[in-house]
Symmetry: D2
Subunit: 483 residues, 4 copies
């Protein structure tokens, strides 16, 4: 059976021998580490929901490789309907976790590498596509989590890879052997990598011939020799180490990013999917980024639903839910959130078949989608803070609330509408803090800005895709200017 | 043959004996009136493109009533694909005319009345649906233009119809006869009505029992006895009376709105589609408004394409097209425009079948679409003015430019980049003036604000459709609050 | 006595023999031309209010040149209090006219030329300052209107003056004679020039040595030989030619811009204030632009007051003044308008004395002020259209309303709240149309964008004035980075 | 000598016997507590700068009560110049600390209570004003920090004080004795109270007769019997407990809020400044809020300067400082920040003398100022995150960086532009994290939203102060409508 349960997934992580460092120490048991575990729980939801009949249509698909039912996160999109379902699945998971559930980068890497390897093979007579599909069938069969790794450190951003002071600031091939290649470098802010079974690497920018050693794509297990991870800090990360569950805001779920270092890692040929075909690096980046920009039109919308719901509930607990300015702000939050969703749906519904048979989103609209994602969650968060009130950032700690003497005062003075437990009010305020300033804000805000590329990257694609000359002709036609 | 040519359409308008007034006088020949004709030309494009093979797929459809090929503007949407094509057709027409082409209100009225009459009949055993489909088959067969008339004058907006000082401030049934009904009242700012063969009337708000005489829907020819029109003024309307074509900005195309008065108009029963079923008035308004709010995600995007193209061309003629701030503003214009389009596509792709078989858009997303339309065209217009430069509002007249002596000075001093004719620059600047301050601004800006309902109307629907309780539960689930 | 009445001003205009062209014909009597007269009325208000005791403190000042009471529009600012009063005077005049009253460009030119000529003389031992002050004393004594003329046509904006295909695309010295200089070129969109007694010319950009013939400042009467004007078209300009006063929106007042051509105009030396001192061209532009960007923090705010008032009144006439969303939008309009005012006040209160003794505004804040002016009036106008409703652009004409038969229908169906005359409602809607799409929109919107420089010009100054290195040091200090 | 040094201030705090609780335990030594100390350091800067000659003019003033030089934070504003200097002092302190320095609430309470007590005495013949000035002279003489305490818990916000389920949800007089009064209740999110010598209490809303027991103003020392504090949690508060200084972002400075409980506190009559004069409660709230809304036009601007500087420096370290989109965003940040400053200056320059002689800001403009503060810092923070890049939220910990082995990898792979130490880059990124998500974000964002009142509170005042009837008259005058 290709579908694991959430528990099976978690257990499978224990089998790996991965090297993770946090706060200057190696983490011996990442699976049960209180900072890491919430992020594992979020990934586990991609398994749990796949086993629930009501979500089967969204969470699973019939593999075009094997004909079996597989988790949609491992599926190659075979239609625009698949593209639309992807977005709906992501919204659902955002709603169920309130955080980044991390498994999208792999899915987006699969789909982009699939069509690009096909096109490389067409041009160069290579066999990357067949290698890749074999790899993917293995992933589907074992229902694995794969981190799609793109972003290099980049050093001085005004210089290309081969001109950096340190040649390793972009990941590169340092040796070619009979049985494979050896790579060195790093990938920064890798989402969910510590919770992944495999890492699937791609180049991060378009390249020219002098950068060809940097044009490389491959997969290795996350416990491959030479590979290790330094865990990234998040705002309020250490609250996950504290007792109690109120102050954590979202005690069960969290996101994860890590600095990933490839310190001379060997990759056998059957796991190499691009090797110096530098003229395809830009295309791969564009497609992966396109898929991932679509993704944000799903996941962030689901997270937005949670934030809107929490805010509406706080308004109710404060006794102001009927105030017209409160209702108006809630409508604005919904409006912005659904605008993002509309963009996610539209770039999917307007997708197209690539040569490999895998479907690609509409690139212009996917970039428009993500550019809105760099704006609206910030405004939704601002409105959430407006409605929630200042208490969100001045609340006493859970320990004060639990204290036999002090607790009575907290209970008494932080009571909202009569009849609603003060504790419920505290819990919601802490959730809003978590989502707008704390651990989840990293995913909902900063990652909305930079994940899948920073705003300027979208603007460049939009400029290229806008067909401005066609638009000029429309105007010339109307005023009678001959071209 | 069900498809007329543009010319046939124009000729067919001459057959009517309609009563139109403008500037205090009756217009004897509306078809050739220089202020009216541009608006007729815009409607005629809905015929012309339907006869061009390259646009056949968008502009025509196979009627579910007759099985014949009909103009899509007269079609009942049979699938979400039909809904998507509607939006694409509207974008195309916006691109080809740069103005409101007026035929959408009829299309949106057909589709909403179709499903609502079906549901009225289900409840009350009436026969409205069959009557309506017979009427529509006639429209399709003859490829007619129908004005969908909803907006009543409304008088004191804080009062319902039956409480107004003058009972006629909402259109109402004043007499019921054996062979039909007599109605009195008015519909304000009726788009394209003078260019229509028929008018299809709907109520304008949800109603209660005391307002039941106002719950009426019917169709009459635009030259029915008792029906007359007072032409609405538009900004710069009289430029259409001037010689020359530069100062008009868009000399060939324009929009149209008129105050439409029903001064005791008789309607035979076979043309009556709702008669006092007040409990369905709100539903009809909601559906018509929904379809029409979707429409704006198509037509205004097409008009936006023209404005963006004109602006990019002016930048080129001014020698600043490569300046980074200019490029950035053009990208922003495209981004906003494509966000509107995404909303138009999304509410279509997410549509659903109604009981009558006709497809309805996703109401939440259609309202989100239109709410964005009340904002982004204004910002696009502002950016167009930014890039175009102040010359747009200080240009000498075409007569100065054509003058044998003065013209040389205008030519000399208003030259932009060498090699581009000064006249081309003037033409584009006048087009931008037309679209941001002149005749077309009425449609691109103010109508974007109020057409299909003012912003607050969308907010009310969004609030209702948002399912806030479900969102609260998502938050409760995450923080462990029991309902 | 140095103060003219409004009527004396108007009569004084008749004495000039100026050459104005409009619609390809010479205007024999500009003072009584129905398109021009509203703009003259607006200027006349700067005289009328100066004669009213309640406004004396704002509209007049004691000349530092003569010790006499003069119109503040001819005054050199002697303190920050003078700078603040300037802004308040401008707001008042915006409130009283609802349009651009045109006399500020001269005032801003006086103040900038005063300090710059002083500094040129300091460097080069020239006598421009004394010449200029003599000229200004004459202006004060006779209470004249002076157009400050800066903007050249500029042709290809990517090229400097001396590199243009046509050397006249920037105004330049074509001959130097014993008694003066001869200049050729044009100044575009000259505000109020046809209503001015004199024109005071300045260069339009910073210059290098090769452009030194373009570095010229001087004054000539508007009826100087070789000088002529081609009147600029405004949106809805010809409504001023129609009968009646409703459709004009603001029948009494209007703005004015004209293409101004210097066709070999002779200037005697005593009227020359800069002659090839190219290294001071940029400084003069910066100061003039700075003063004029301050001005917009006054005049546009006053115009905004009128628009807000008209909108609030229409809301009242529609019966919706108490609706919370209406109140909220009105508050937003006020908020944006007062933010502009705050910027106008702040750059004045933070002004400084220049070497000549004349006070200069704070340049950073004046540019911030104007950058906001390129945004907020558009949003205020959008909100005005939101509240006013679509009727604003679909109203029948005044002739329909005055028609003995039709008028009854217009009266009946366009009635708002009972008791308010329909005519009053029409008048206000036409005023809002005038201010957001018509004649006054040219001043309130497009001129807010481009007058005193387009947005990018402000951004360049803000970047230069921001002292970013100081800000970096603040951050370095906090985190302990040694410079 | 009336001016303490920073060190003397800190030592003086040790003399108090105050009861502070944090994480369920009493804090024995608040002065040296690592979470509290940064907030004390911020207050201490108000002392240190007052002793530096270059800041003497801003940080000190001559007392109108004693004629001595006092810290401006204890001064009654005697002129609009004083009001302007207040704003400049606040900007300076924001620049020097990057956080909320907490001493403004006391200053704003002094000034509002001063004029209001004068007016109460005028009406009721009471002696509050004299009592208050005596109290203030003592504060000035001893250069003390006073917390101005306004915000009550409020419970169900739809109910007035006397209608709450628990009567203590607003602070109230529970007993009146010969020698004074006894009060009970709480004040939430009290800024800097643990660092204060005294607390000066005011009512939080306008009241009616039935609420008169809640209309009370008084001062007590922070170690008064019955008074205690529960420390509020901030995002990332426990980073202050960690070793090292990088991850703290701003290791030296921080803000502070605490839940303050008055558990039957006795106040002697000479410290009571309002006692049941409920008709003055609203006036006091309005004035205090007005002053405090002005304050935000200074302090938040100074903090913004730091954030802008940090962002510009990161851009430089990333090698992108010259990219046009980066420059453009930095200009936008400056523009928004200086708009806030303009509002702070304008409401000060337009201030007026009250009956007591103390100067009051312009209330309309102060509310406009604060309403902008609820918006622009969020956008500035968003732009800071845009420019800073995603690394800000995925950086390894300082311990990883200091680790002998791991540190080399962090050093190598997080290098930016060659030549800039990686550590400097980390420090700046952590500062931006601190200001947009961490401890300082509480002050820069959420407090900007709610401090001195939430946005709706400003909108209510703006509506009241806007003089809408005057604006309507301006419109009526222009279109010829008789009132």
């Amino acid at each position: 059976m290709a579908l694991k349960t959430g528990q099976e997934y978690i257990e499978s992580l224990r089998q790996r021998n991965i090297k993770v460092f946090m706060f200057g120490e190696r983490v011996e048991n990442p699976v049960d580490h209180p900072i890491i575990r919430p992020s594992i729980n979020a990934v586990a939801m991609t398994y749990e929901l796949a086993n629930q009949p009501e979500y089967e249509d969204l969470l699973t698909a019939t593999s075009n490789l094997t004909g079996k039912r597989v988790n949609r996160f491992t599926h190659l999109h075979q239609s625009t309907e698949d593209l639309v379902k992807k977005v709906k699945m992501q919204r659902l998971l955002g709603q169920k976790t309130g955080v980044c559930f991390q498994r999208c980068v792999g899915m987006d890497a699969f789909n982009s590498i699939d069509s690009v390897t096909y096109e490389i093979d067409q041009k160069y007579g290579t066999e990357y596509h067949q290698r890749f599909r074999k790899f993917l069938a293995y992933i589907q069969e074992n229902d694995l989590v794969v981190d799609g790794a793109m972003t290099d450190p980049k050093g001085d951003r005004s210089l290309p890879p081969s001109k950096q002071a340190d040649p390793d600031l972009f990941l590169r091939i340092v040796e070619e052997r009979e049985d494979g290649i050896v790579v060195r470098g790093a990938k920064v802010h890798q989402t969910g990598i510590v919770n992944s079974h495999e890492v699937l690497v791609m180049p991060t920018i378009a390249m020219r011939e002098e950068d060809k050693d940097y044009a490389v794509s491959f997969a290795v297990p996350t416990d491959a020799k030479g590979l290790f991870f330094i865990y990234g800090r998040q705002s309020c990360d250490t609250r996950s180490l504290e007792e109690g569950d109120i102050d954590k805001g979202n005690a069960k779920f969290g996101g994860q990013e890590a600095l990933t270092i490839f310190d001379n890692v060997f990759v056998p040929w059957e796991r190499v999917f691009m090797c110096r075909e530098y003229d395809f690096a830009g295309l791969l980046v564009e497609r992966f980024a396109g898929y991932h920009r679509q993704s944000y039109g799903g996941c962030k919308v689901g997270v937005g639903d949670v934030l809107i719901g929490a805010t509406a509930a706080v308004a109710q607990f404060n006794g102001v839910e009927k105030a017209s300015h409160i209702k108006d702000k809630l409508v604005e939050m919904v409006h912005l959130n659904e605008t993002l969703y509309s963009c996610g749906i539209a770039c999917s519904a307007e997708g197209n078949r690539t040569a490999s048979g895998t479907y690609l989103i509409n690139l212009l609209l996917a970039n428009v989608c993500k550019l809105n994602v760099t704006r609206f969650p910030y405004e939704i968060a601002r409105l959430a803070q407006d409605i929630a009130g200042g208490l969100m950032v001045t609340l006493p700690s859970e320990k004060d609330f639990r204290h036999p003497e002090l607790g009575k005062y907290v209970e008494k003075y932080l009571q909202g509408v009569a009849g609603i437990p003060t504790e419920d009010r505290l819990r919601l305020l802490r959730l809003i803090e978590n989502m707008t300033l704390g651990r989840a804000a990293v995913g909902y805000l900063t990652e909305s800005m930079h994940g899948a590329g920073s705003p300027q990257a979208m603007r460049v694609v939009i400029a290229r895709q806008a067909n401005m000359e066609k638009k000029k002709e429309l105007a010339f036609e109307l005023v009678g200017i001959e071209k």
